[in-house]
Amino acid sequence: MSEHEHTEHIVSPGMYLAIITTLLILTGLTVGAAFVNLGRFNIAVALLIATVKATLVVLIFMHAKYAPERTKLVIIAGIFWLALLLFMTLSDYASRVDYRGVRYPMTQIISHTLGNRG
């Protein structure tokens, strides 16, 4: 079966060093970006940088770049299902309107006196 025919790829320490350096620089960058007021794009930039970092870790540290196709399929399936969970649920919150036309959360102010246990 062709699935077993792949040889192990050894990533060199130099490559690892380059990746960790990039990761540290990106960490600095994300902290820096947080102190700039980008409005609603702050979170977008933070997530973008985090995703770049995660991708580097997956591809190089975890050797996904050199892995067989089915490993990549597993990774993509994981991301896809996470997206299903997040976006399909958020589609409810984004469009939830009650009979008065009030959007989620239906009650903006809850009395201060309500404690932790209602």
Partner: protein, 245 residues
């Protein structure tokens, strides 16, 4: 099943065995993605709905400690990758060295996390009956670890946040639910990872790993890197909300 050398009885070749173990770990990591996905969803909805409270809560975290821990964890991922490399190239001494370094960095992370958690307990910022986002502002004497300048800034921030969200105490508690839920779960995974690393260290000292047989180092490495990835997302999501104020 019986084991012949490194080969378990249900497999035909070492390569099949390695393939199987690696695939198994990747699939397990996908279940972990979904596991964290549930709490990520709760975080996303509440962060969007109660942004002021979340920004307020985030600003009470120490960026220094969080950033330091990020660097520590990234470094531990690097040493773990190096441990895998050492195993693949049969450098037995280096395996032990890099595994020890990884464990050490893991414990540095735990230490910093302990300091952060202890501070939150002390400041009544743990969800539950005693939660009180105003505790330090109202009892500055009991929060002596916050210096006067920071305290003044915090007071100002809290007052502004209450203006925007009168139910700040309840909603800030949601932020801390997310904070403790996510970092607690992450820390639990690190504890499991550290346990696995100790086992690897023991095997490595016994000289079991080499270019032919390094499966365990490889797949524990996958797990450790995954835990690192979770933190890569947690750091900006929890520590970096609205820092520019």
């Amino acid at each position: 099943m019986h084991r012949t050398g490194a080969l378990y009885g249900q497999f035909k070749t070492l390569e099949q065995q390695k393939d199987t173990a690696t695939l198994g770990m990747w699939i397990f990591l996908v279940t972990e993605v979904m596991f964290f996905g549930g709490i990520m969803l709760a975080y996303t909805i509440n962060r969007h709905t109660y942004f002021h409270a979340f920004a307020m809560g985030s600003n009470t975290l120490s960026l220094g400690l969080g950033g330091f821990n990020t660097v520590v964890l990234l470094a531990s991922s690097f040493t773990m990758a190096m441990a895998v490399w050492s195993a693949q190239t049969s450098k037995k001494g280096l395996i032990t060295l890099f595994l020890s370094l990884t464990i050490f960095l893991g414990f540095v992370f735990f230490g910093v996390k302990y300091v952060e958690y202890a501070q939150k307990f002390h400041h009544h910022l743990v969800p539950g009956k005693t939660f009180d986002i105003f505790y330090c502002v109202r009892n500055p004497a009991k929060c002596s670890d916050i210096d006067a300048a920071d305290m003044a800034k915090e007071k100002e921030e809290i007052e502004a946040a209450v203006q925007a969200d009168p139910d700040l105490n309840a909603h800030a508690q949601l932020y801390y639910s997310a904070y403790f839920g996510m970092t607690g779960l992450h820390a639990l995974h690190m504890v499991i990872g550290a346990g696995l690393l100790f086992w690897l260290l023991k095997e490595s000292v016994a000289g079991r790993f080499n270019a032919e047989w390094n499966n365990p180092v490889d797949i524990v490495g996958l797990y450790w890197h995954f835990v690192d990835i979770v933190w890569i997302y947690l750091f900006p999501l929890l520590y970096l909300i609205d820092r520019h104020k």
